[in-house]
Symmetry: C2
Subunit: 270 residues, 2 copies
């Protein structure tokens, strides 16, 4: 499954599509048979049901009872369609109201919301967001998620840094889940079966004296998770680590504000 990228075309046009700007040109010729929303809707439905690989221009067109090339009168290309799909998914995320709750619960809620996004739309995990879709969905998501980190004594840049760190983590977990599902799909083995098949074969070829720690720890971890990698555990373990890290940063920000020393602690090893 590809790490899909988004719009490489004209930014102004892409933004106009994302914000559903109307082209003020006089309309000539036949009335449009479809709408951008219908195209995005169809693409999202296919992606949800069968994954991003199934979203081909041909397939989306077929779903809409139209020939592939017709889509190009609604969308400049597949990259822009991906932008629109992702922003739509962002727009529809339920946003829990956690005002008044302690920050750990608020941040946990943000993580859970994103985890839920990737469970409902596994394809979204595969899309790179180094150049996020600058649409209303992304904006309202960003606004909502920042509010969980507001009022903790962090600077604006630190708030963004922390959110990025958290979201990167959740997305990485989601990608692992998606990869595991894909691997299962085309090897006809789930992770546990794959591990049960490989572990004894590996043991036979492995020199236990050459890798003592690896053998011991690998066996313990394999036994704990019934596999080489357990995405669900990685998520719950990792989320606690991220929360611990934020706690340390927040404490440090508070200290820096109440004390006279204003130096940053980030770049020095204590």
């Amino acid at each position: 499954m590809p790490t899909e990228r988004t719009s490489s075309g004209d930014p102004a046009h892409t933004l106009q599509l994302l914000w559903r700007g109307s082209s003020p040109d006089r309309r000539r010729g036949p009335r449009r048979g479809l709408s951008i929303d219908a195209v995005v809707e169809a693409a999202n439905a296919i992606a949800d049901a069968e994954g991003l690989d199934a979203v081909t221009m041909r397939r989306v067109a077929k779903e809409l009872g139209v020939v592939p090339m017709t889509l190009y009168t609604y969308v400049p290309g597949k990259a822009e369609l991906l932008d629109l799909m992702l922003d739509t998914a962002y727009a529809r995320m339920p946003r829990t109201d956690t005002t008044g709750q302690p920050w750990r619960q608020r941040v946990t809620a943000v993580a859970e919301e994103n985890k839920a996004l990737f469970e409902r739309h596994p394809w979204a995990a595969a899309v790179s967001t180094v150049r996020p879709p600058l649409g209303p969905g992304q904006m309202s998501k960003y606004e909502h998620e920042l509010s969980a980190l507001d009022g903790l004594g962090l600077s604006d840049v630190e708030m963004d840094d922390c959110l990025t760190h958290l979201l990167t983590f959740v997305q990485a977990c989601a990608r692992a889940v998606a990869d595991a599902r894909a691997a299962q799909h085309d090897s006809a083995l789930n992770d546990q079966q794959w591990w049960e098949l490989n572990a004894p074969l590996l043991a036979r070829v492995l020199d236990e004296n050459a890798y003592p720690t690896a053998v011991r720890v690998g066996a313990a971890a394999g036994a704990a998770h019934n596999s080489a990698y357990d995405p669900a555990h990685a998520y719950s373990f990792g989320l606690q680590r991220v929360l611990d890290a934020f706690a340390a940063l927040i404490d440090r920000s508070r200290d820096a504000k109440t004390s006279t020393s204003q130096h940053r602690h980030d770049d020095i090893a204590p």
Copy 2:
């Protein structure tokens, strides 16, 4: 660029290839003109120079002066070739000896080694490792990296959890770098140019009252990084967070050992 997956074929055969097991069968017919090592070497060279997309069976074959189908007498398929490529890259990673140094430096060294791996072989970031290549390279890498987390009072499972958390983080950063490079390549704009082009257009369509925090924080972060996302900063910031998190976990493990209360702290919010 695809999130490539690895071997879906016969595990025993794959392991035999990874550990360079010799097939004891009597040799009949013409002598082999190539070797597995040569094939993997050629594939790695192409991937290093031009990215994983350039690694096609046709291209590897051409590099070896051979017709594409010939490769299939050395390797069952492309997935297995990827396994071999990755394990080879793992095997060649320089492993810094940090015995005796404080754990933060040891863990930082592990992170840096992996960061260096992904800088030297950017394609490696795109390969999923939920089913890692169970070869000598992976094993010796695992052994080496675990040693940085040994003797800190963590359980075997926690050591594996922490290492997974760290490596997931570094790989996520590397994927972001790779995605940024790919986006730059086929949009002819680097991240800064893309941001400078989009920011004013976005400002025109954006209602500042609807997204007050997003606009403020986004502007601060954008100004700090000259872009929507700065991979280098995300790495250095995130690594400090991961170290802080490990510190908290280690402290807690020490406390749990010295106190009589043996309950786990992980699953409860303090």
